[in-house]
Subunit: 398 residues, 2 copies
């Protein structure tokens, strides 16, 4: 058989862990803190039902929902993005600056296809979102981690690595980061945008969680400090509407969007129109704002329960991140615990998480005592049960 | 600003024509034979409405439709593909051999990402589907056309070019080809599968139209003659269900599908689950077979009207393809007519088509007298009006 392209063997072999986690999610007995899904109780099923019931009729809208669409995406949905999602963040986009994609992952894929040559360097946070790394590797980029602390990327390290490696791109999730739950400070957001402009580097700002804030003050995105067009802002509807719809968007200068349009056309033409029509209607009926309040309340309770469980059930010597929003917290266990080998014990006790090493590109052994814990998808009572199981598994190793 | 990747400038600059055609489609006065959309009257709006009404409830299925899915695709939909679409073609696939993608275009994209290195050669039909060529070029492949006649690819030319260029892949639409409407003969289908096996070349068989047969005898796919796994069979639900849903599938040996799974994960995770749930239910309720009969009847009438118009309205010296199915016919006008410069006149008279040169990789000037005419999306009466307009525009140039 013909050989697969070199890029395939370049992908980090963590696909197996992701596969395993997908599988553990389908076992109803297992309480999985491993997923990245929002609360099923937060999915607007009834509202989507009502909208589908009204739009799926044999008139202009019903036909539109089932016929080919424009690669830019549905105008109504782009308008909703501009007015209801970007403007409140202080971002003033025009209709030609926003393109609808098939979920957040795809935005990273399209931007990578637009910019990355084999051997190009992409700087990422350590730890970072593992699927983004796989995408960069699929385009044969060299992925180099930068230091982070509780205020996000350490700017001095980013600047030093820009000078040393001349990267094409810096990838960052500034708010309620996946996997750490950390938020980049205001000063560092400004500094990141300025680094992009000064050194001619793309800042790829991934923002799927910022709407899901449960405490603390809202911060403006990196993109709001971008004066030269170097920051590309990408986002997803997965957390605020529905993951299964596979919708997201890219906001960038129009000369970039025009090229993304060509690549999107050659990737899969356009996002599912039915999903776009329903999502646009969800915003245009004014359903989004009350829905956001509801899902914040649901997830805030889970965050609070999880942080209480961590405090009361886990040993004193652990460290954890208190996330002001999003779906994740990050736990550092004592050095002698190996969360990768612990996972088999945990799964046997019907509880799951993602071992910390999976989120690192380099120096993975040094993070074998960490784990990402997701509280978004689990009911509060189940969080307590799951954390009891996990605490027992951990205690046995100490 | 950082430079775009080299692959971007490698894409043939026909994106503008596609953009222009998308725009002409939105002018209600223009009768466009330029699109590739099926009849809007053939879209199962009411059935999809009924299904959405039933599945979008706060139970397992409704939640499933809105939550993250598996990159392989919904098991129910893969099962429907295997039983209702592949088995009737003589193809016996297992559940692990079929992966659901976001439309037919994406299957080409994923297979290209799996196999193509910069400089690899892909053989295509001349003429061929222009968006497939753009995908191959986006992966920096060299696209080389092979001769075709009324029975499809000329096998001797394919074999000679395999020997000369050692291609990675041969791309073929054997049934009711886009743009020519031609169908590859049984003997040549066998021969193509054998060439793939003998010379260790991937045969990428694209089959979006074969269900839409209005006359003549059904032919088995190239894949049914593949003994070594070299043929990858890709297909779309756009013509038989709905283009806007963006659903398709890839059928290949499991060792290939496993790698496609990784790439699909890194491209956009999975196809829209809502669309998949509705499509699976469409098949499982037994709605597909009567729907297929209906859409064949609708499109057969349009094919017949179009061929009658061509015969009676266009000058005697033209040649055209009589398609036994699909959406397209191919018209060769006298040498002195240039269909690219004619398009402006045609658009002024509110009728559109795609100039023939757009479907060729090489020697495009030599096909400036050709045009692709799509009859699928236009009501019979409108076909007559549009063809009168087109006939007048053509006659003025003779």
């Amino acid at each position: 058989m013909p050989k697969f392209a070199r890029r395939i063997s370049n992908m980090q072999a963590s696909a197996d862990v992701i596969r395993q986690l997908f599988e553990s999610m389908s076992d109803p007995e297992t309480i999985s803190f491993g997923g990245g899904a929002p609360a099923r109780e937060a999915l607007p099923v009834e509202k989507i039902h009502d909208i589908a019931d009204e739009v799926l009729t044999r008139d202009k809208r019903g036909i539109q929902a089932l016929q080919y669409g424009n690669p830019m995406g549905l105008p109504d949905l782009r308008q909703a993005v501009i007015e209801r999602l970007l403007k409140p963040k202080g971002l003033n986009a025009g209709m030609d600056d926003v393109l609808i994609v098939s979920g957040g992952i795809e935005s990273m894929n399209l931007v990578s296809q637009l910019y990355l040559e084999p051997g190009d360097v992409v700087l990422v946070e350590a730890p970072t979102f593992v699927q983004a790394v796989q995408i960069f590797q699929l385009f044969e980029a060299t992925v180099i981690p930068c230091e982070t602390d509780n205020s996000g990327l350490v700017i001095e390290d980013v600047e030093a690595k820009i000078k040393k490696f001349s990267p094409k791109m810096v990838y960052v999730i500034p708010t309620f980061q996946n996997p750490s739950g950390r938020t980049t400070s205001l000063e560092r957001r400004k500094a990141l945008a300025e680094l992009g402009s000064r050194y001619d580097v793309i800042i790829l700002e991934d923002d799927p969680y910022s709407e899901m804030r449960y405490s603390g003050e809202t911060l403006p995105p990196v993109k709001s400090f971008d004066k030269t067009g170097h920051t590309i802002f990408v986002n997803s509807f997965s957390k605020i509407f529905s993951p299964g719809s596979r919708l997201g968007y890219i906001y960038a200068n129009n000369d970039i969007i025009r090229k993304v349009y060509d690549i999107k056309t050659a990737t899969n033409s356009h996002a599912s129109v039915l999903a776009q029509v329903i999502c646009a209607e969800f915003f245009n009926r004014g359903l989004y704002e009350p829905h956001l309040k509801k899902i914040r309340d649901i997830h805030r309770e889970r965050r609070d329960v999880m942080m209480e469980c961590i405090k009361t059930m886990l040993p004193d010597e652990i460290k954890s991140v208190y996330p002001d929003g999003g779906l994740f917290t990050w736990v550092e266990l004592p050095r002698k615990v190996n969360t990768t080998s612990l996972l088999a014990d945990a799964l046997a006790q019907k509880v799951a998480y993602v071992p910390g090493r999976e989120f690192f590109v380099e120096d993975r052994d040094n993070h074998d005592n960490c784990m990402r814990i997701s509280f978004g998808g689990i009911l509060p009572d189940k969080i307590r049960i799951g954390m009891e199981r996990l605490a027992n598994v951990i205690k046995k190793t100490l």
